[in-house]
């Protein structure tokens, strides 16, 4: 088997003095979709932010596509092929939908064309001239994802895409993720909703107090339900 596309080993990170990641290990193969499960405050979002390079106070190893990412400044992470969709979606209020969509520069060939994106998200097409924040929560999530799909990023870091959304929207997001997977996109998904995640992810990590405490493929999910119910408190 070839080396994983993204490899993280012994990753520590700090918010100021507060030590939040305590040696995170994870890997993602090309075209794979993994999901990090865990309760609030266990370091899931921090893991994504640290891999992306937003959180700079970090130690350990991050390699992406064979490249050491630890010394890479934030604005070069995207150029290397990492795309980040934050939990709060980060839609710009002073930009129109279309300006939001075309804001991130193309970093590599192979991204989706704007027309293709509007086909995948017809709602966005209808509202291309409205200000970004006039969109519903679901539409904002779609736009936040669409924005990265255009850039040709190889690996999507997706933070809680279903949070606060209606079941029908969650289903639509699941379909989009399915299409991305079919295109060979690599995804690191952070989710609390593991019923949703179980439909799209290939492999799971369970996170607790800043480190990974379990790792298993989707096929083992039924056997792990006890553990998950206990750990996630659902």
């Amino acid at each position: 088997m070839s080396a994983p596309l993204l490899n993280v080993a012994g990753l520590h990170a700090w918010y100021g003095e507060s030590h939040v990641l305590h040696g995170v290990d994870l890997h993602v193969n090309e075209g794979e979709m993994i999901c990090i499960l865990g309760r609030n405050g266990m370091g899931k979002t921090t893991t994504l932010r640290t891999i992306m390079g937003i959180l700079r106070k970090r130690e350990g190893t991050i390699t992406f596509a064979g490249k050491d990412m630890m010394g890479v400044p934030l604005h070069r992470s995207a150029r290397a092929g990492l795309g980040f969709v934050p939990e709060e979606r980060g839609i710009f209020a002073t930009l129109t939908v279309e300006e939001n969509l075309t804001l991130p520069p193309i970093v590599a060939p192979g991204g989706m064309a704007v027309d293709e994106i509007y086909e995948l998200f017809p709602n966005l097409s209808e509202r291309r001239t409205s200000p970004g924040t006039k969109l519903s929560g679901g539409e904002q999530q779609m736009l936040a994802m669409a924005r990265i799909l255009r850039t040709g990023a190889r690996c999507l870091l997706l933070d809680e895409p279903t949070e606060g959304l209606a079941p029908v929207i969650i289903q639509a997001i699941g379909e989009v993720l399915g299409k991305l997977k079919a295109r060979g996109m690599t995804v690191v998904l952070v989710e609390q909703n593991f019923r949703f995640a179980s439909k799209v992810a290939d492999r799971f990590y369970l996170m607790d107090h800043g480190r990974m405490t379990a790792e298993f493929p989707v096929a083992d999910l039924p056997a792990r339900m006890d553990l998950l119910n206990r750990e996630l408190g659902v």
Binding site: G53, H75, L95, L103, T151
Partner: protein, 295 residues
């Protein structure tokens, strides 16, 4: 003689024009301040010094290099903008992680240093800068005599303001600026070099001040104090317009220039303070400014 509200119409139109010219400078300067504040969150107290620098660079270029008005109109803003970019990159950028007050204090100190240095070498009195031949003389509009250079200043400032507004509101670079104003970290995670964007923005703001300085040189005298005389009014304009609003800065600049001119007609004694009275009223009724978003 035609009268309006008991005032000779010539006097009225004459002061309206003076107001419009002053307003052109207020608009240009408050525009630069708004651009800088919008993205850097720094209140650029050096703006007046950069305006003065623009006028002096034009004067010195003429004296020592024989570069005339039109050359200076292009080169002086570039020189002042480049100096601004250098200062941002080497000094101001180190203060972003501290309270914004430090940026204000730093630029204030820089303004005092620049002005002090120029006073040392050039004294406090002004030096004339000749109006370019193509723009000297005037036209009789029938109701008043318009010096061509003053008409040029009004037109040029409107074109520049419109150009900057277009750059920020309608172009890709402007979209980066607006997005980075809202969420710089996310914009940087998209692969945009935000620190460079900040440097360019400060350079643009400083360059606009320098450009205003060149435009002002033939009208007002070129003096080390010309910046500190105008900058207090410009800060009042920015407060009235609303911090960080591009369009607000432009419109308020012209409006307050005209308000000042009209006050000179109707109640000359108040003309020096009318802008500050308006500022006080706006601060009481609408603290975010006329065009500002309520925080």
């Amino acid at each position: 003689m035609m009268m309006l509200f008991g005032i000779p119409i010539q006097a009225l139109l004459g002061q309206l024009l003076v107001g419009l010219i002053n307003g052109s400078f207020y608009a240009l300067l408050s525009l630069g301040l708004a651009v800088i504040f919008g993205l850097l969150r720094v209140i650029n107290f050096a703006h007046g010094a950069q305006y003065m620098l623009g006028a002096f660079v034009a004067l010195l270029m003429l004296k020592f290099a024989g570069i005339g008005y039109w050359g200076a109109l292009i080169l002086a803003p570039i020189v002042v903008g480049a100096m601004g970019a250098f200062v941002e990159r080497t000094m101001l950028s180190r203060l972003y992680k501290l309270d914004h007050l430090y940026g204000l204090l730093f630029t204030f100190g820089m303004a005092l240093t620049i002005e002090g240095t120029f006073r040392y070498f050039f004294g406090a009195s002004g030096q004339p800068y000749t109006t370019p031949a193509a723009l000297s003389g005037g036209v009789n509009l029938g109701f008043m005599f318009l010096p061509i250079y003053r008409g040029w200043v009004v037109v040029a400032s409107m074109v520049i303001c419109l150009g900057v507004w277009f750059l920020i509101e309608k172009t890709k670079l402007g979209a980066y600026l607006r997005a980075a104003t809202e969420n710089p970290v996310l914009v940087q995670s998209f692969g945009i070099n935000v620190p460079l964007l900040l440097t360019l923005t400060y350079g643009l703001g400083a360059g606009l001040a320098g450009l205003a300085g060149v435009l002002a040189a033939p009208i007002y005298q070129v003096s080390p104090l010309m910046g500190s005389n105008i900058i207090i009014i410009v800060f009042a304009v920015v407060v009235v317009g609303g911090m960080g609003s591009i369009l607000g800065a432009i419109i308020t600049g012209y409006m307050l220039g005209i308000a000042e001119g009209l006050t000179k007609v109707f109640y000359p004694e108040a003309s020096n303070i009318v802008i500050f009275v308006i500022m006080a009223i706006v601060l009481i009724l609408r603290p975010a400014g006329l065009f500002g978003k309520d925080a």
